[in-house]
Symmetry: C2
Subunit: 157 residues, 2 copies
């Protein structure tokens, strides 16, 4: 299947190194999501939402490995139990805070995304759809406490 | 960019009509996610997670419209403020409960997905990454109450 960019994500992060690895670690970091002109009519009604889900292409990822040592751990883990960008289909997902939609761009906060990343889709974030109670987190249970401070170190570039 | 299926999702829903439109409306509905052999080593460590995010291809969707009347509303809305399957990049996203990983398959619950849907990616669901406080829901604020009972009616097939 062939997918194409519908826009581009602008952030302060020019390089994988020193980039926050998750939105919670990117608290307050501002970015813009520029949607190409032809898709802008689809942005109508987004203004009322406080958060959106961005799907995007990890465009600098090359190849993948089914076992990876995540940023927040020291042992190799199964790829699908991680958010590592080198995936068979290198699609990234971030929940970001939306504070304005204007002139075909979304002004967002909490971006853990590389500058210039191709946008694939925007979906409304709806807790009733997307979040659930009684969560178990496997290997991330202890590692997640590190997320707010964790930075990328280039290993997934 | 070219993406390819890494597996296939099996559910009781053979047709868009009468399918639940969101995981909350599919509470208790069981399905399996069959991962192709070559990707199975990447499933390691998923067993400890209670929920996963599935990304998949809305493979029966043809074309898209930037204004849609959602299942839960009566007025046309901007496409990106909805979860309608006819999108420029027809990628679906569902958070499902994971209760077993065995022989290369994920046994999941709360599936709002059509049988035979091509799987694109599996990501661990982590509330610290994916859910947030103080949410506003725009047009969905009043409509969301209908989600647990809402069914698809074929209009997006």
């Amino acid at each position: 299947m062939i997918f194409k960019a519908i826009g581009v994500i602008r952030t302060p992060f020019k390089d994988y190194r020193d980039m926050p690895i998750q939105p919670v670690a990117a608290a307050g970091v501002k970015g813009t999501v520029e949607v190409f002109r032809e898709y802008r009519p689809g942005l109508k009604d987004l203004n009322g939402f406080s958060h959106v889900i961005l799907l995007y292409h990890f465009h600098l990822s090359r190849g993948f490995s089914l076992r990876v040592v995540p940023f927040m751990d020291t042992r190799p883990r199964g790829l699908f139990s991680t958010r590592a960008p080198k995936r068979p289909n290198p699609i990234g997902l971030s929940v970001v805070r939306l504070f304005k939609v204007e002139d075909g761009a979304l002004y967002v906060e909490n971006v853990d995304i590389l500058d210039g990343t191709p946008l694939l889709d925007i979906k409304p974030y709806v807790p009733e759809f997307d979040s659930t109670a009684r969560i178990r987190l496997g290997w991330l249970e202890s590692a997640k406490k590190k997320a707010p401070k964790a930075k990328s170190d280039g290993r997934f570039g």
